[in-house]
Symmetry: D2
Subunit: 145 residues, 4 copies
């Protein structure tokens, strides 16, 4: 087991998630296998996290303006079925499994309700120099609620 921290097991059931964000696959994100390159899923997860924070009235921009960045400590993706150009991908997400300095998020990516990928990311808050800082209270509450 490659990590001591990553421990969420992302569900394949859409109802198990709290938020979703839909985006469309760009041609620039495909590769010569005709499918979305595996590295391109991580920006999809990031875009969904940013929209989630905005929906919670804690836009990431405001966090950054306070000198707090949310660093990615670990990332895991399981590619179940390929994504293709122009598909509408829904990223379902759920925050969970928090400690005082880290939290995890689970993701399910679907197209027309069918699972295409699952993922987990582990995050910590850092300051402008990249040093760990305590998470904002609302974030701790969110992760443990």
């Amino acid at each position: 087991m490659p990590s001591v921290r990553l421990d969420l097991d992302p569900s394949l059931r859409i109802d198990d998630y709290r938020y979703h964000h839909t985006l469309r696959v760009r041609f620039a994100e495909t590769d010569a296998m005709g499918i979305v390159h595996h590295s391109r899923y991580l920006p999809y997860l990031e875009e969904a996290r940013v929209e989630y924070l905005r929906a919670l009235d804690h836009p990431y921009d405001a966090l950054r303006a306070e000198g707090v960045d949310i660093a990615v400590l670990e990332a895991y993706v399981r590619y179940r079925q390929p994504l293709r150009f122009d598909e509408l991908v829904t990223v379902h997400l759920l925050m969970g499994s928090a400690t005082r300095t880290t939290f995890q998020m689970a993701y399910l990516l679907t197209v027309d309700g069918q699972p295409r990928a699952t993922a987990v990311t582990v995050h910590g808050c850092v300051n402008g120099d990249g040093r760990p800082v305590r998470m904002p209270t609302w974030l701790v509450e969110l992760a443990t609620s």
Copy 2:
């Protein structure tokens, strides 16, 4: 634990790896935190895999010409210390943990011998339509040797 397959635990000791490939961080790979964006590590791992196959006299191009692609089924990265613009990153890698249709690779990324990240990828061979095919014999032997 989010996966039934990913089971390699990447070592922090350079000597535990069989091959290494060095590349330089591009400015285009950094983000507004001043460090390499976390999604950009996956193409580094891919570049190292491609060079490894070339070093083994089984260039990926030749594989693709035979109609075999190596798909990424799972990917895991642990970001230990950031990578920065212009740094020379050495990707150490090790193939292991094969089944008849999948194999795993473990990675250690270092700068000046210091660990920056570890990673694991799980792969399967597919044909031009993305359907699983049996791995070439040399690949099975390599993964189990």
Copy 3:
């Protein structure tokens, strides 16, 4: 003048364009200068082209299914003011200046109505092998109307 073909001069007046598409800057698209990396504008233009074709009832997917790809022959971008993370960017576009085998598009990128960049792309239709083919009639008509 580096090209014999690129000849559109993109206007700074929004009203001079026929279509617009709005997208939000991803964190993954920023660089260590804290702004969107200059290479990331081209996928924005591409996304706007794809949405324009969809709005015209000629989705790019359908074109590709007929074996026709729209290749980029030339691209020019003038970066006037930087784009930043999370900004909503509106890409205004206009098709023009067609020949039998090529057409050009002009672009104006704005945030809150203020110009950030202008651009021109030159395109040709190609088949699956990348060989030039005649443009579909509707595309010629569009470009010359």
Copy 4:
């Protein structure tokens, strides 16, 4: 003509350039047309510029440490023949056409000596806030020599 500044006409003759840098196409840089995505050429040009400055003993890192960034004001690429996965691309470059605050670079991209693309970029020096600053003397001398 879309720009008042971009005026270099990149030659197709390798001998007309002063410096070259070779890189290998990554799989992650290809798209579903099986060729390198057109947006991916700009990081190639950037990588070549960075290596050129290093070869001149003025590494870009040192510039940035002094608070000077080299911004891209305009970029133009002409795609003559596609680039493909695993190809070794040589980027030939030439600095020219400087003013007190801007300079231009011309590029020729070749594979096995055959032209694949030409390009021009226009640059200005900016400080950490993105405001234009005077170019370092060595850079002016280089551009006008």
